[in-house]
């Protein structure tokens, strides 16, 4: 036997061999095959498993997401099932009524799909391209910053602050996004800066 074979592969190979032998010896091969065809395949067969954590409360339960398609291979990936991660030390596979319904969050009909702009006085959103939305945002930001940035206070001390535009950060974004956000916001001189921990 190839000594490189893992324990899992070994057990799998032995199992398949044993099953074929048993079926053949009982003479039920055809019936079994017909029966097997009538049974719906287990829904997670052939899916890609991805580890994640529940985005809601700060217990941060481990979850496993199952998708059709594999993002790591550059494929379109459609998540079809999410369940608790039994390996996770805190939740050990359990989920609460929110975590158990995470798939409905991912698939929510009110997920946003396109940038939108609502013009002053209008009663509706209008779809725009990302370029239009982003260029408009930085135009508004720069015009305000150039008009209201305070380089020195009355005492002549450099204060380099911008307090007429503010930023409210999230509390479910990653630490990495938080750090990037910090860099972008502070380098612009913003002081009106807060996150959801406050409330």
């Amino acid at each position: 036997m190839n000594m490189e074979l893992s324990r899992r592969q070994f057990l799998g190979a032995v199992g398949a061999g044993a099953a074929a032998t048993a079926l053949g010896s009982l003479g039920f091969g055809e019936i079994e095959a017909a029966h097997a065809e009538a049974i719906r395949a287990f829904k997670l067969v052939g899916t890609t498993e991805t580890r994640n954590t529940c985005p809601y409360c700060s217990v941060a339960c481990g979850v496993i997401m199952y998708s059709k398609g594999d993002r790591t291979k550059g494929e379109q990936a459609d998540i079809i099932h999410i369940e608790g991660d039994t390996d996770h030390p805190t939740n050990r596979g359990t989920l609460c009524p929110k975590g158990a319904a995470l798939l409905d969050f991912v698939k929510s009909e009110t997920r946003l799909k396109y940038p939108m702009i609502r013009k002053p006085g209008s009663d509706k959103f209008e779809r725009v391209s990302w370029d239009e939305a982003l260029d408009r945002i930085v135009r508004l930001m720069k015009d305000d910053r150039d008009a209201n940035f305070v380089e020195r206070n009355e005492a002549g001390v450099p204060v380099n602050r911008w307090i007429t535009t503010g930023f409210l950060a999230a509390s479910a974004t990653t630490n990495e996004t938080a750090w990037e956000t910090y860099k972008v916001v502070r380098s612009a001189g913003m002081l009106v800066f807060d996150n959801q921990a406050r409330v």
């Binding site: 409905d104 946003l112 009663d123 305000d144 002081l191």
Partner: protein, 812 residues
Amino acid sequence: MTNSWTDIKNTDLVIIMGGNAAEAHPCGFKWVTEAKANRGAKLIVVDPRFTRSASVADLYAPIRQGTDIAFLLGMINYCIQNDKVQWDYVKAFTNASYIVKDGFAYKDGLFTGYDEAKRDYDKSTWDYVIGPDGYAVVDDTLANPRCVWNLLKEHVSVYTPEMVERICGTPKDKFLKVVEMVSECSSPTKVMTSMYALGWTQHSKGSQNIRAMAMLQLILGNIGMRGGGMNALRGHSNIQGLTDVGLMSNLLPGYLTIPNEKEVDFETYMSTRGFKPLRPNQMSYWQNYRKFFVSFQKAMWGTAATPQNDFAYDWLPKLDVSGYDILRALELMGQGKMTGYLCQGFNPLLAAPNRKKVTDSLSKLKFLVTMDPLDTETSRFWENHGEFNDVDSSQIQTEVIQLPATCFAEDEGSLTNSSRWLQWHWPGGTPPGEAKTDNWIMAQIHVRLKELYRKEGGKFPDPIVNLDWAYADPNEPTAEELAKEINGKALTTVYDTADPTKVLAEAGKLLPGFAALRDDGSTTCGCWIYSGCFNEKGNNMARRDTSDPDETGAYSKWTFSWPANRRILYNRASADLNGKPWDPSRKIIEWDGTKWSGYDVPDIVPTAKPGEVGPFIMNPEGVSRLFTRGMMRDGPFPAHYEPFESPLGNLVAPNVRGNPAARVFKGDFEQFAEPASEEFPYAATSYRLTEHFHYWTKHVHTNAVLQPEFFVEISEELAAEKGITKGGWVHVWSKRGSVEAKAVVTKRIKPLICDGKPVHVIGIPLHWGFTGVARKGFGPNSLTPFVGDANIETPEYKAFLVNIEPIAGPVA
């Protein structure tokens, strides 16, 4: 949390006060169940409502919302009066023996130095006597009447069980049962854990609620112990991380602070951050502040931050007020002083207090940008939704740009949970439509803004154009690149200061941890307390080793716990003055004669001798503080203050209304109901339900089905008094707004008797709005007052006044 979710299994007694873990943190609450089932631990719940946590408690005691400090100081008073004190711990590990300056006093609800016009204190007397050797003067016998212990004893003496009953409405016999159980944990071998959440923070004295329990835990010797600690359950999945990384007006990452404009240059800034030890031999770890700060500046501005320009100190914006928190931001908007606001994953229209004020404020902006995976109320604040959002779109001139962001399932990176574990997660799904990651969106804002400054010039572009942005794809930094920046790297080779032949990190390599940081510009580090999260050993946040030797609950190889992968903060305090565990069955670390070692990373230098170096290494004292000097705005001890809207006056200080040091904006005071108001006689509070998470899950079909519509909870007694029927409709209004809801008439809420007068409590859950798939509804924040905690400005959502009357329901 000082400890972790999995550590709760080690406790003897859980006290849930200021939270409702069974409802709001169900899968964490299982560790309470483990402690009860496996080691016979008991559970006490103190809450205005008989909550889901209370339903499995061994003892439930009711309390009127906003009176926790009276209850907690009552417990401290009982422990002092009945000698239920872990004396060895208190004497060695707290500042009980420190002598306080003569001028300091407390009288009629106020500490020395109050300025009524400023609603602030001159805190110069709130400090220790400093001896000629430069150290704080102490009296180990505790005989000096001016030592912290004797001042505390005097301060809490008014909070007798009778006074607790009058203020809190907790029957004296119930209070005594609670405190008898709690005080048993003064034994070195019995440990209590405190589990709290927004029920304590969302008050005008929220910080002092938590301090009061921390003081009790110190007196009982429960800080640093397995199964003990102060455990903030926290709200969102990365509330902890966003705070750690410092996304607040006055913070730099890792709890460093943004300069004030009075700190005119780098050396002036550093002069108030010297953190010289206040006792001999103490570590006073903040002495390393300059290393953390310089490494942060290097992470921001790279080669542009040099010793010659004080590492770009001038490029940081300087504060002129204590901070621009969300309440101040909304106030300034209302005054027409703000132009734009960007909201990333935040729904302030529903999440901030006094919704009418929020709508008026947002309406005065020139532009509002939202970034969210879901269609939030904030991004549609200008849209008319009948009574649920009664606005005239044509009158609102704010330009609103709504950006679609990815959700957790499509994003990569780490979140810090309440156990301080930085847990990495991976993306498994393709984002819908044109939704983009936050990393991409933020990069676009920066890159495009920088481009405009390069093309057009403009005001002080230096910090923008010089921001270190050396990512493989400047349009979208990866989570790994950003995590490495947070961890920090060596720019030139870093050597061990104790042994200059020993290399800690080669030039260009990731730093092993924050001990390798330097203040000469040779290291970078985005957030010093996270250093070690992604080093040359790899991404430690992605570790998935579930081993747990001797089942202590530490799980030291699972992901990464800040700081330095330490699982229990202050764990040095779990051992006595000789370095032996107070309770051998709860060993975390111990001293073997030459060094500290054990199940966890020691929270002290491994060679620091017990008896010499104190366990509270961040404090210049080396010990913990029962008296917190001038570090909090509203007093060195907690004191009972009523909520700004309260059904009765302050019984211990009748002339004081609310927290005297809390900031109140002009115009908001007029919007508070008078104490003991006849117009608004009922004490309201807000809370969460287990089926929902804030304002997200009304977008989630299953959860919208489980809890489809807004309701309020009232007692059978109040229902009978007002003629309200079960499931009938009610109108609830405060001085700021009104809502309509179905009434849940329940035995879970009972009227309290406070100072001889019945107080009815009204419970208002918070999960409904006008977007999503659940029925449209209101939330408590149409009613809540616009005032925050004196120290950190968390709004007072948990205690306010309303009136209620039955109404005919809407036509079906």
